[in-house]
């Protein structure tokens, strides 16, 4: 514990709409409370409506930082994956979310920041800077990211090519990548449909991967991404 110095919230004089889009996000008692409430309701809904099943939850690292990645074909993916996170880590787990979509209005920002604990990711203009933000979040031990390396939802449920960003975050570092495969989410709620249908959704979590020995080069990043992609495809086969 440190000596005391006044250290105001850096967003104190900014309007809420603006401070919601900033990251790292400052601690907020009310927002944390709402986040727990949201997660509680969400888990209950996923369990009852989609009969959500999570296999391999024990694979999630306890103390190390990690990136939880999966295939992406539905809005359900992020919430299904976040339901796999243990309760005590909810405040330390961030979903990487497209800034142009999830932070495009006040209410979307409010939802993304409070409920999903999302990191605003600039996927078009400045992905490098956003990747640095993600890397900073991972630099704190015990913090985790939920990320979809395809970068967007797949139109037909097939797995798209993984982008090398996941390699940038983990190659040459001791951060782990936990691959997962989500099945049923596409059938339940594909892109473009307004209402989800009550189909069974299953999340299969695989063994953590380390890319410590992979060089931090363009090729290394691509290689790491390729490996993760193959692991996710392998999990698909195991289901």
């Amino acid at each position: 514990m440190k000596d005391w110095t006044y250290d105001p919230d850096p967003t104190i004089e900014k309007p809420l709409a603006e401070s919601l889009t900033l990251f790292p996000r400052e601690k907020d008692f009310f927002f944390s409370g709402l986040r727990y409430l949201w997660n509680f309701l969400l888990r209950a809904w996923l369990k009852m409506y989609f009969r959500l099943e999570i296999r391999g939850r024990e694979q999630l690292p306890k103390a190390e930082s990690y990136v939880l990645v999966a295939n992406h074909s539905s809005h359900l993916d992020a919430v299904a994956l976040s339901s796999a996170i243990p309760w005590r880590s909810i405040g330390a787990t961030f979903s990487v979310a497209a800034k142009d979509y999830f932070f495009s209005s006040f209410f979307r920002s409010l939802f993304s920041a409070v409920c999903a604990n999302a990191i605003p990711f600039e996927r078009h203009k400045n992905p490098r800077e956003s990747l640095e933000l993600c890397a900073d979040a991972l630099a704190v031990s015990g913090q985790a990211l939920i990320l979809f390396p395809e970068g967007t939802r797949s139109q037909d449920g097939t797995i798209l090519t993984f982008k090398p960003g996941i390699g940038f975050l983990t190659a040459g570092t001791n951060r782990l990548v936990v691959p997962a495969y989500i099945s049923g989410a596409y059938r339940a709620w594909p892109k473009g449909k307004c209402c989800p249908r009550p189909k069974k959704v299953t999340v299969r979590i695989g063994k953590p991967l380390s890319f410590q020995s992979v060089p931090r080069t363009k090729e290394g990043f691509a290689q790491a991404a390729k490996t993760v992609e193959q692991e996710v495809i392998k999990l698909q086969g195991e289901l």
Partner: protein, 311 residues
């Protein structure tokens, strides 16, 4: 039971409140049409505009009765305490924040039950709980500051402000409450306006360089005139008590403002938040009221409360 909103004094203060807000609006609209005053009108419009929302909210809460007043003030206290915690950095301390919020909830719980004895005891319990946190966490470094900041927020922002909620318990309480809120805000606004137009002599330069003697005297004049003007609706107060009321609003309002000013200046920030455009945070708006609330409450309790009214 007589509803608050049907009482003549409540209706009078409502009309007065709305008339002042409406009158100022019209004045700004007129100033806007004169090219020379256009910039001035724009600079007054910014702090004026939020009153179009805050005014009806205050009148509505007071009109709905004691429960609504207690709930509104509870939320105000909680969010003011939050702003204070954000400004000082205390908000990163989960345990202290939890006890602080619970303490404020306890204070308003006592208000809600109308249990004055518990209301006066609650800050003791909550402060005691704050002192236990370092012991339970087995940590000492920087703990005086953490306990101290939490205690300031609890007592100054939580407890001081909560005295307002008890005002409505007095006979004719809604009138006192509205008189006080409106008086304090008028006092603030007139100090600002008189200072802006006539201010020359600064007096608290290290804390609030914009405060001037002219502004402060202007506020005293407006507050006295206002108190004298509405005295017909505060029949329990004789001339001496009316003068004391005006004095409490004037001095208390000025001090309350300066207290939050020195807090901000010590930390090195300009505003406590950005919730109310043109004012800053909630605490920037409620600062005067916080200091005035307990002074005024005790004046009323001492002089006009029936014997044994508060137990």
């Amino acid at each position: 039971m007589l509803m608050v909103w049907s009482s003549a004094s409540y209706q009078f203060f409502c009309i007065l409140f709305l008339a002042v807000i409406g009158g100022c609006g019209m004045l700004i609209a007129v100033l806007k049409t004169i090219p020379r005053f256009r910039d001035l009108a724009a600079s007054i419009w910014r702090p004026y505009f939020p009153w179009l929302i805050m005014g009806p909210l205050i009148l509505g809460a007071v009109g709905l009765g004691e429960g609504a007043v207690a709930l509104s003030l509870f939320l105000l206290s909680i969010f003011c305490a939050k702003e204070f915690a954000k400004a000082t950095g205390l908000y990163r301390e989960g345990w202290f924040m939890a006890v602080l919020y619970l303490g404020i909830a306890g204070i308003y719980g006592a208000v809600w039950m109308g249990w004055f004895g518990l209301f006066t005891a609650m800050p003791v319990y909550a402060a005691a709980a704050l002192f236990l946190i370092p012991i339970l966490k087995n940590q000492s470094k920087g703990m005086i500051q953490r306990v101290g900041l939490s205690a300031i927020a609890l007592i100054y922002i939580g407890w001081f402000l909560s005295h307002l909620a008890f005002l409505e318990a007095f006979p004719n309480g809604a009138a006192y409450l509205l008189y006080l809120i409106m008086g304090t805000e008028l006092n603030d606004a007139s100090a600002f306006l008189f200072g802006k137009f006539f201010g020359k002599h600064r007096f608290i330069s290290n804390i609030s360089p914009k405060k001037t003697i002219e502004g402060s005297l202007g506020a005293l004049a407006v507050t006295s005139l206002y108190t004298w003007g509405v005295s017909g609706y505060l029949p329990e107060l004789h001339f001496g008590l009316l003068s004391l009321s005006a004095l409490i609003i004037w001095l208390g309002g000025t001090f309350g403002d300066l207290i939050i000013s020195f807090v901000k200046r010590d930390i090195g920030i300009k505003d406590m938040g950005a919730l109310i455009p043109g004012h800053g945070g909630l605490l920037d708006r409620a600062d005067s009221l916080i200091f005035v609330a307990p002074l005024y409450f005790h004046m009323l309790k001492y002089f006009i409360a029936p014997t044994g009214f508060f137990q």
